[in-house]
């Protein structure tokens, strides 16, 4: 009541103007941002939240246009300021987006670009002074050796580090408010948790008000003082996070909350394990895969990237087997071994008693028919110039279905099964949504009636609602065709919903393998605990990030230190961890984990 708001948005409306007409993207948006407030904005993809976050910093380009309304900062409508007058204000208005890797010029060092920005918005700032400040702040966001990192290029930064550098870029000029649009979306969960913690610390330290936009309600509710729910371009609800979760008013909010996966509550789905008897469908036996990568700095030198290290497990018929881990943990390399896109350097992948590396001709074709892959990226996994019908029929042609009429019939049947309209048969994939594209991917895999579907991050690019629908589709298909699924994912919540057995990977190794219940309620490995602590959830956490994870990012798989690969980030590491590598140890009857702590607790070495 004492302080006037930092930012006032009144009746803001944004339209999309194209040749075919005008469509409203945002309408009737009004809110005030109080000093030091963290305002959360939540909405599904397509709800207009990115457009809103950009409108707040006057970043609306054609074909988008401001239809009406104002964004008032210091009693000036920043939407109407000419660029010349707006630019000095950029010092006080900061923005951090969802795409850290694309945010800076790739051809110039990171530090120089931040200095350039400071000097552009603070005329008269001394260059050396700006550089000193940037290095100091890089240190404050816990970027190791900041003075050296200052001179490195964006491509030498990891996603998480780049996002920290951009937070420095945004906060270096002491802005009055910061718009953070989906800042954690592209990051791994453990890194995202670190970035969130950091942002809260810094905005407190600098007295910055924050507009925090995200599609994840748990993330928003942890960060914000007040939450706006955005649906179809309108604010449908405005609450404190606690009240919003307790008593959601609008049907959209109700649905949003109901779709948030349950991890530890009684409502969490119980995933039954099928009987693991008979022969495994596919076994991976002590497989290792190392890639040679040319060293840039030396003459004709190579680095060995150890992507998969001594991995062993079996998958039984009817299982939903999960492989989880963060980016760079080797799960995609493992996928390539399982689907025989590559062969292991040592060890074997065995199917029907045969090493699949030795298959050829008709046997290989038979294997390919049984093991199908559904890939990660909905935008790159479909050939851009081929019609959807032809994409789905492709595998049929390969497998000798020569009659065009039969292929068409089969393709249309599968399209129907996965919920694609027959009208899409002649269309290009270009106009499809991510969810539809993934359905095409599933259809292409299903068309050969395989036994196993390997899902490589198939759902990670979809929003909650779409994920929900596809997971339902998967279980229908499983019931109907008796499929076995191998899910490769970084999303613990998704794995919790569908997988009965889960392998956790870290730096190329399986560090824990356990049944669903055991893994989530009594994990054996500290890294699993760290992953669990970072799941965005509304529930009371069983594991707190503060207890489970040190700062830092996974070491590079190129020069692995001796000892346990997780030792550098493990809060429980002791002397032995830095010298020896632990092996998978039986931890109770439902799981195995690779940690010395289990040995001392009386576990036995796995056979």
């Amino acid at each position: 009541m004492a302080n006037p708001p930092v930012l006032s948005v009144r009746d803001l409306a944004v339209e999309l103007r194209t040749e075919s007409g005008t469509r409203s993207i945002l309408s009737d948006i009004s809110f005030d941002l109080e000093p030091r407030q963290i305002m959360g904005i939540i909405g599904a993809s397509g709800s207009g939240k990115t457009v809103l976050s950009r409108a707040l910093v006057n970043w609306i380009d054609p074909p988008l246009a401001i239809a009406s309304g104002s964004v008032i900062y210091k009693s000036q409508n920043i939407l109407e300021l000419p660029p010349g007058q707006l630019r000095p204000l950029r010092k006080e208005i900061a923005y951090v987006g969802a795409n850290p890797m694309g945010a800076l010029d790739p051809t110039l060092p990171v530090g120089a670009q931040i200095v350039e920005k400071i000097r552009a918005v603070v005329p008269g700032m001394d260059k050396a002074e700006a550089q000193r400040r940037v290095i100091e702040l890089l240190g404050a966001v816990r970027i190791p050796s900041p003075a050296q990192r200052f001179h490195e290029y964006p491509s030498q930064f990891s996603g998480g580090m780049m996002q920290r550098a951009l937070i420095v870029d945004a906060l270096a000029t002491n802005p009055a408010f910061l718009v953070a649009d989906n800042v954690t979306q592209p990051l791994d969960v453990t890194v995202a948790a670190q970035v969130m913690r950091l942002m809260r610390e810094l905005t407190e330290r600098f007295d910055t008000a924050v507009v925090f936009v995200s599609s994840s309600l748990p993330t928003v509710s942890e960060a914000a003082d007040q939450v706006l729910v955005l649906a179809d371009g309108r604010i449908v609800e405005r609450q404190t996070p606690a009240k919003l979760i307790r008593e959601p008013q609008h049907p959209y909010t109700v649905q949003l909350i109901s779709e948030i996966p349950q991890i530890w509550t009684a409502a969490a789905p119980v995933v039954e394990s099928p009987e693991r008897s008979g022969t495994p469908l596919i076994s991976i036996e002590d497989a290792t895969r190392t890639y040679r990568v040319r060293k840039r700095s030396s003459f004709a030198g190579y680095n060995n990237v150890r992507a998969v290290r001594n991995v062993t497990f079996d998958v039984y018929p009817g299982e939903n087997f999960g492989i989880v881990g963060e980016s760079g943990c080797g799960k995609s390399s493992l996928m390539r071994l399982l689907s025989r896109l590559e062969s292991p350097d040592t060890g074997r992948v065995v199917c029907d008693g045969q090493d699949i590396a030795k298959l050829s001709g008709a046997e290989l074709l038979k294997f390919r028919r049984d093991f199908q892959l559904v890939l990660q990226d909905p935008f790159n996994s479909l050939p851009p110039r081929t019609s959807i019908g032809a994409i789905i029929e492709g595998p049929l042609k390969v497998h000798g279905v020569n009659s065009a009429a039969k292929r068409r019939e089969r393709a249309l049947a599968v399209m129907h099964e996965v919920g694609l309209s027959a009208a899409l048969y002649d269309e290009l994939p270009l106009g499809l949504s991510a969810g539809q594209r993934q359905r095409v991917n599933v259809a292409r895999a299903m068309v050969l009636e395989p036994k196993v579907l390997i899902m490589d991050e198939t759902l990670s690019s979809l929003d909650q609602t779409e994920q929900f629908k596809l997971l339902k589709l998967f279980s229908q298909l499983q019931a109907k065709h008796g499929l076995t699924y191998i899910f490769i994912s970084h999303d613990m919540a998704m794995v919790r919903r569908v997988c009965n057995r889960i392998a956790v990977m870290y730096l190329g190794e399986v560090v824990e393998i356990a049944d669903n219940g055991k893994l989530f309620f009594d994990p054996g490995h500290p890294y699993t605990k760290a992953l669990l602590s970072a799941i965005p959830t509304l529930e009371k956490r069983r594991y707190r990030p503060e207890d489970c994870l040190l700062e830092g990012e996974p070491p590079s798989p190129i020069d692995l230190p001796p000892g346990c690969s997780f030792a550098s980030r493990c809060p429980k590491a002791f002397g032995r961890c830095h010298a020896e590598s632990p092996v998978l140890t039986v931890d109770g009857k439902e799981g195995m984990a690779a940690c010395f702590l289990l040995e001392s607790a009386g576990g036995r070495i796995a056979a």
Binding site: S45, K49, L64, N99, L373, S381, R385, V398, R444, S461
Partner: protein
């Protein structure tokens, strides 16, 4: 496309595949045809080609027939009256410039188009193999390509044609075999990026052979970027044909070619400038029309595919 971008609603609003039953290539042609540049190019090109095909036989004028009495006649716009026998004047031995230019255009088009077909075949095959297999295959093929690329093709062409007798097949062979590297490079770079895409992986997993992937999945992808270059190359090859003719290494007299007419006309530049200029103007018109069509096609393709 990164995850971040998919969140913006404006990305997937306009679906180019709304209209059913119309193939992509036809949509590109339609979009190109709708542009002013393409229509101008097409009309000019069609008129020139029709004239080249029909006029020499319809008019009954022999492009090689001398007429010493009517030598060095000026074109109609400089002379005082229209003449059906020589509207664009005559050369130093009284041959009709119009018929000679149009016959020259025939050979120019023939050599231009067949050369580009040959270049496409050689270049795309080499680029495809290099890009798809990578490693040693790539290393060997690309060094050969670099070597080829490092000698100016015209040196190669005049060397070969200069020491042997130039015939039409020899000219096509020499021009075609000395300028494929660009296609090899473009094809290789496209194939190398596409090869890593997940749909290629998906095809491999479904059991498709390398040959099938190259022919059915990758070949359609290299075509669009190549079409633009190849249309421009038709024009470029027509220029080279005329250069060869100019140096006396093209199709041999008495067959008229643009190059040889210009070379002859050069000696009469001061008193009969039209001899060297007229065929040049014909050539420029043809080239401009081809280039306009090629460039409009490229623009249309970019619009349909959203710049992909």
């Amino acid at each position: 496309m990164s995850l971040a971008e998919t969140d913006v609603p404006l990305v997937v609003t306009e679906t180019p595949s709304n209209r059913k039953g119309v193939s992509v290539s036809r949509r590109i042609w339609r979009a190109a045809f709708a542009s002013y540049e393409f229509r101008v190019g097409l009309v000019v090109f069609a008129v020139l080609v029709a004239a080249a095909l029909l006029y020499p036989s319809l008019s009954g004028i022999d492009p090689t027939k001398m007429n010493v009495a009517g030598r060095l006649q000026a074109p109609w716009f400089l002379g005082d009256k229209w003449s059906w026998s020589a509207p664009l004047g005559t050369d130093q031995i009284g041959r009709d410039m119009l018929v000679r230019s149009l016959v020259g255009l025939r050979y120019s088009l023939l050599i231009g188009f067949s050369t580009v077909v040959l270049m496409l075949a050689v270049g795309c095959t080499i680029g495809m193999l290099a890009g798809y297999y990578g490693g040693k295959v790539d290393l060997v093929l690309m060094r050969i390509t670099d070597a080829q690329l490092s000698i100016p093709m015209i040196i190669l062409a005049i060397t070969v044609l200069g020491v042997s007798r130039p015939t039409i097949p020899a000219i096509i062979l020499v021009l075609g075999l000395s300028s494929w590297p660009v296609y090899a490079r473009v094809t290789r770079s496209v194939v190398m990026t596409e090869r890593k895409q997940e749909y290629v992986r998906a095809a491999l997993v479904s059991g498709a052979s390398d040959l099938r992937i190259m022919a059915l999945l990758l070949a359609p992808l290299i075509l669009p970027p190549i079409v633009f270059i190849s249309v421009l190359d038709v024009a470029r090859m027509m220029i080279f044909e005329s250069i060869l003719g100019f140096m006396g290494l093209g199709v041999q007299p008495p067959t008229p070619t643009f190059g040889s007419i210009i070379a002859d006309g050069r000696k009469y530049l001061l008193n009969a400038w039209w001899i060297a200029t007229m065929p040049g103007i014909f050539l420029c018109l043809t080239l401009t029309s081809v280039n306009l069509m090629g460039a409009s096609l490229e623009r249309a393709r970019n619009r349909i595919y959203g710049g992909a």
